[in-house]
């Protein structure tokens, strides 16, 4: 067979394989972005690496924010609460905690606690750690 023929066959094999990979779903990079809202705020939680180990987490609050402080309360659902993580403001409406420990795989829950002049609000984010 000529070179052209081999290229065509290889192309078909490659495309079928690629199609299969897309369908069966490739593994994600571990970065998770989650959106939710409380009564007063629209909140996004970005977990840089939802894998066992330490990860940075960032909270973004949309719009004109009156928030004075943000802290994170990670809990593993099988009854394992972690120490709370204070965040530092890194930009308008953006708060970051560097080393949050996710000790095990499984279902976690990160509660974002927002403090502002009107009080405290809690937004719960389910998080699957792999």
């Amino acid at each position: 067979m000529t070179r052209g023929r081999w290229v065509a066959v290889a192309l078909v094999v490659l495309l079928v394989a690629a199609g299969g990979f897309v369908l069966l779903g490739g593994g994600g990079g571990g970065r998770v972005e989650l959106n939710s809202s409380s009564a007063r705020h629209s909140v996004r939680l970005v977990v840089e690496r939802a894998r066992v180990g330490t990860t940075a987490m960032e909270v973004e609050i949309a719009g004109e924010s009156t928030v004075e402080g943000v802290r994170l309360e990670p809990v593993m659902h099988m009854g394992h609460a972690m120490p709370l993580a204070e965040t530092a403001a890194v930009g308008p409406g953006r708060y970051r905690a560097e080393n949050v420990l996710l000790e095990m795989t499984g279902q976690w829950e990160v509660t974002v606690v927002l403090r502002d002049s009107a009080g405290t609000e809690r937004v719960v984010f389910p998080l699957l750690v792999s």
């Binding site: 996004r44 009854g79 719960v124 389910p126």
Partner: protein, 460 residues
């Protein structure tokens, strides 16, 4: 050559687009029945299966005998956390409750699949999940493979007619064989593919895992069970009872209750007189449930709550404290019947609750039997119940309707009974107090019974 490439690209695009296209299709799920003690009313709220999103959610509010007429506001709030941000459209309506008991209908609009809350009268917040029926990866490959085989077959026909060199037709021809092989293999494999964890039941639901349940693979090495729960009981103004459910390990509010036996929480209160109250507190905030006590009795009340957590079975929480309302306790209500039983072997207790077959299923069951005991010598039934070794809740199940959609029989079907029977094994001899509950003409009947258990003769 160009045709082949174009067709293959088209095939690939088709495959990529496939999951979304299928996800928007038919909806899964079943009707949800939730008992709610809201104010002075005992309601059964039925959320009908959602067939399309966006689409209507039909809600039936069933009232009981003696229920006050009035208007209830209903609001549907999408609460799901998801990777896509965007406006969340709420839907609101109201339902007019007549003075006659029965079903009252309303329709809300579901704008987003996944976790939702139905808010009733700005007080009760019922969490539930609107699921989407999604094809498994193996099913998707099967569909994709057959579609590709069809497209390639057409391509090979065109190529064999148009192309000058005959071997060119072999390329799409080979593709047909490959695509068919993939499709058939996937079809054979799809039967053995394990079902993914169900969002809202096995794992916490998010918009993402509802849209793609196969993205969360079951993790066999992880113990999915969750800790036991503590219940904290407090009373405000002598009539409003608040239950706070806290995790037995982390101490955080427990907000992952499943609807089991048609309620989020089954509250049993034994007052000094022994007139049992079986109520269904409404969820007002995460981990916080509230119930209104109609005409409360003075004195000490024993309390237990039956719940089921996500990723765990049903648990009975017995409040160690109970609660006390000021005043002199009333004397105990005498039981109307005494049943004799023998310890250590199954005893069947039967009661005739009506004259004809007109019992209605309450909480999905034809009858409920609640037993506390063995009772110590103590005139106040509440105190005696609190120090009893066992509290049990036995059901008389409604027969499953053949060919039905798998949902519970509706409360509006009055076709059961008139006898209800329960089988239970008593471990210890002694005197027990029991209550048999059944519904007739939209009215809950509670029959107090005394059970005297003799020591068993069978060797254990």
């Amino acid at each position: 050559m160009r045709i082949t490439a174009t067709a293959l690209v088209a095939f690939l695009l088709l495959l990529c687009g496939a999951p979304q296209a299928f996800a928007d299709g038919a909806m899964a799920g079943a009707d949800i029945h939730v008992a709610q003690t809201l104010g002075a009313r005992e309601l059964t709220v039925v959320l009908r299966r959602v067939d399309a999103v966006p689409g209507p959610l039909r809600v039936n509010v069933i009232t009981h005998a003696g229920s006050q007429p009035g208007r209830l506001s209903l609001r549907l709030v999408p609460t799901g956390v998801g990777s896509v941000s965007g406006p969340r459209t709420e839907s609101a309506t109201s339902v007019e409750l007549r003075d006659r008991p029965g079903s009252h209908d309303a329709t809300l609009t579901v704008s987003l699949p996944g976790p939702q809350e139905l808010v009733i009268d700005n007080t009760a917040r019922i969490p539930f999940v609107v699921p989407v029926s999604v094809l498994s990866p193996a099913e998707r490959v099967t569909y994709g493979g057959f579609v590709a085989a069809g497209v390639l077959l057409f391509v090979s026909l065109v190529v064999s007619v148009k192309a000058r060199r005959s071997w060119l037709a072999l390329v799409p021809g080979g593709g047909v064989v490959a695509a068919l092989a993939v499709a058939v293999t996937a079809a054979l494999l799809s039967a053995s593919t394990p079902a993914p964890p169900v969002p809202g039941e096995d794992i916490d639901a998010t918009v993402d895992n509802v849209l793609d349940p196969y993205s969360t693979r079951p993790q066999s090495t992880v113990d999915e069970s969750r800790p036991p729960v503590n219940v904290l009981v407090s009373v405000q103004d002598g009539v409003e009872l608040t239950l706070r459910l806290v995790d037995g390990a982390s101490g955080r509010p427990v907000d992952d209750l499943l609807i089991h036996d048609s309620a989020l929480a089954h509250l049993l209160i034994v007052p000094p007189s022994g007139a049992l109250r079986h109520l269904h507190p409404v969820r007002v905030a995460p981990g916080e449930y509230r119930v209104h006590l109609d005409a409360p009795e003075p004195g000490y009340h024993a309390v237990s709550v039956e719940i089921a957590r996500r990723g765990g079975g049903v648990q009975l929480l017995r409040s160690a404290t109970g609660f006390t309302l000021p005043g002199t306790p009333r004397p105990a209500v005498p039981t109307t019947e005494t049943v004799r039983a023998e310890g250590g072997s199954p005893t069947t207790i039967t009661a005739r609750m009506s004259e004809k077959r007109d019992l209605q299923p309450w909480l999905g069951m034809v009858g409920h039997l609640i037993i506390v005991g063995p009772l110590p010598e103590e005139p106040e039934v509440g105190r005696a119940a609190a120090s009893s070794a066992t509290w049990s809740h036995v059901h008389h199940m409604a027969p499953l309707t053949r060919g039905g959609a798998g949902g519970l029989p509706d409360e509006t079907v009055a076709a059961y009974g008139p006898e209800v029977s329960f089988t239970h094994t008593f471990t210890s001899p002694g005197r027990y107090r029991a209550w048999i509950q059944a519904e007739r003409e939209y009215s809950l009947m509670t029959k107090p019974v005394e059970i005297v258990v003799a020591p068993g003769k069978e060797p254990r």
